[in-house]
Symmetry: C2
Subunit: 432 residues, 2 copies
Amino acid sequence: MAPKTPRTTTSAPAAPSGGVSRRGLLAALGSGAVGAGLVGAGVVAAEASARSSSGSSGAGGGSASVVPFHGEHQAGIATDVQANLHFAAFDVTATSRDELVSLLQDWTAAAVALTAGKEVGAGGATGGRPLAPPSDTGEAVDLHANRLTLTVGAGPSLFDDRFGLAAARPAALVDLPAFPADALVPERSDGDLCVQACADDPQVAVHAIRTLTRIAAGRAAVRWAQLGYGRAATVDPGAPTPRNLFGFKDGTANPAASDTATLDDQVWVQPSDEQGAAAWVAGGSYLVARRIRMHIETWDRTSLQEQEQVIGRTKGSGAPLGHAGEHDAFDARTLPASSHVRLAHPSMNGGAQMLRRGYNFTDGTDGLGHLDAGLFFLAYQRDVRKAFIPIQTALARQDALSEYLEHTASGVWAVFPGVPQGGYLGQQLLSV
Amino acid sequence: MAPKTPRTTTSAPAAPSGGVSRRGLLAALGSGAVGAGLVGAGVVAAEASARSSSGSSGAGGGSASVVPFHGEHQAGIATDVQANLHFAAFDVTATSRDELVSLLQDWTAAAVALTAGKEVGAGGATGGRPLAPPSDTGEAVDLHANRLTLTVGAGPSLFDDRFGLAAARPAALVDLPAFPADALVPERSDGDLCVQACADDPQVAVHAIRTLTRIAAGRAAVRWAQLGYGRAATVDPGAPTPRNLFGFKDGTANPAASDTATLDDQVWVQPSDEQGAAAWVAGGSYLVARRIRMHIETWDRTSLQEQEQVIGRTKGSGAPLGHAGEHDAFDARTLPASSHVRLAHPSMNGGAQMLRRGYNFTDGTDGLGHLDAGLFFLAYQRDVRKAFIPIQTALARQDALSEYLEHTASGVWAVFPGVPQGGYLGQQLLSV
């Protein structure tokens, strides 16, 4: 069973971010003013409608499985990885900075409710006025918070001339270069904003993205979205390292959430990193997402020995080749020259590390009799110029694994710093 | 926590279905004769490689979560619904009946291993010869059986002249008629064979379909596949009825697994139903699958009152309109004339019932800023001519819900009877 995480103290009453009172919002709902947009400048968690039935969704269920929303950093980065992912990238269609601010304020209020396991909006799924659309779509009623986290970032395209943010673009938020053998689909790449929803129940994650999409209507639209699965559904410290669709353990060398020194050094943007209008990003991070199609049929015809030489670890235990245990210390230079683990190792990359929280995906078929499956790679880092870009450059050139991979989508975002009580997502950027 | 289901007694040693000894198979592996096809006429569960580490995948984990494979009926029909689905339809590319038999024998042996939580093939993921491809792809190592069931059926197209099965086509295995407002995608519909994989961990279900796909190489290829989520991850009898993406409880009126009289009457094909060469189907069932895209954005703009009038139940409790409790008895004729529950009710359809085990799906976006989401409808029944076809005919004509739905894929299969010890899937059909 999942450990009992203390219920966040921030969940009731929710702090309206835009100064709209509960009474005002109810009046707006009653007037029929709330259509697809759901809310005006503020949305209030339905205080009386915390989901209360018994859990039905595995170890992540239970009303206690709440990850606090507020904090120095956004949740969903150093948070113990949840079982399921729904990731969405949005094109902002708002035409003014005020509209963008109101969108992020509304998202914040909804995120406070959703991550606390509450229905969104006054009345929730069923408690509103019968002649108005329910403020919550209802499919996550009874499913609790299930450790839901919502993590939001801004892509390079948000810093064009639409919202007066060009000067606030961090120097580290560079456009990713083209890598050899990239096969990127533009409609499935990039986006002004991204939202990573992770939870121990897929329906909770999907409900969250759907809710934010609904709230965004008229101000932002989903550009592309990706479901993922395959991480541990409990935070049991004894749980084995999850395996990717090549059958190998994936994430062995990830920094631990408790290793704050490494996180500060490698994941969180530090105040000294950016100056002036871009200083807002301190406390945030950079996310690189890559949809990596795996040619599993080809891989499956490869011998065990070759698979292990390509990865650099044994398939069973996950130990580095020549060692006995998964977590044994090793010298990357002793691994095969083109092995994935050697090339990606910090010692071969100036000490650079990324915090990876990728998910497996399976999206039907490719029309050729093969499953369209792979890894949706998500990596957080302090500076993509020092981490993802050089590491991927080396991998794309030399990695024996590349033969079995095809990067079909890509994006990079500056992930906002954490939200303080009463604040909103991106406030550090937009209040400059 | 999931109840402790007794471990099946059929799991070790697995019974080779094709008469190939373990020694013979190992020899074949060593000779390099096993490539993409993985196995010859028989595959043996790796007896020493039952997954043994501690569970990491929620309430469905644990080595005891095994649903027996053998029995009078296939598992995965009356089995308590698992949390996750991977469904695949296959085109048979084999050109002889013997090849088709060998495919189904190999699938049976693999299914015995997979549903027992074991790795497939001699050596499993890591215990084989280093210079041969592993017989198991490995991504489900450590994940246990997780209540995996594999349920296999034959579509109308299997009964053409390729395998001499035309005379064995059951009279009840009719081609589904076109319904008003169908928007079927042919490449995502039908298929000679179908496999429904259900488990309480998505990776276990995906691994199973991948494994059967791999085994089928050269004899059958995936035509289309669908992932689903959103059912209860435990068999806790107190768990609330799951909700679909319209936010309503879905499955309230489903026959219970313990209601064997109803199952015999409505779900299992009875010996009296078919004669002669088609008599093999007794003990089987008919599966109708429909991928139903839901226009959730339109639905979400509809008032609570209209939603409830369209469905015929209250959104919160799931009670029939005018009643207090979800499971209250009600007269369907008292519900709104075009409500879904009224039109689909057995009393309006000559007593016909289906056993539904549909799953929610979310497949990225539709390219227009909307989530491509809905219900993957799966319904088992004794005779589609008396159940799905008349019910769907009435719904397509009158159902107020139809306005919000689009059927994008469809298929019907005669699901094989259960497999006795030592038998194989479809043996009743193919040994005629």
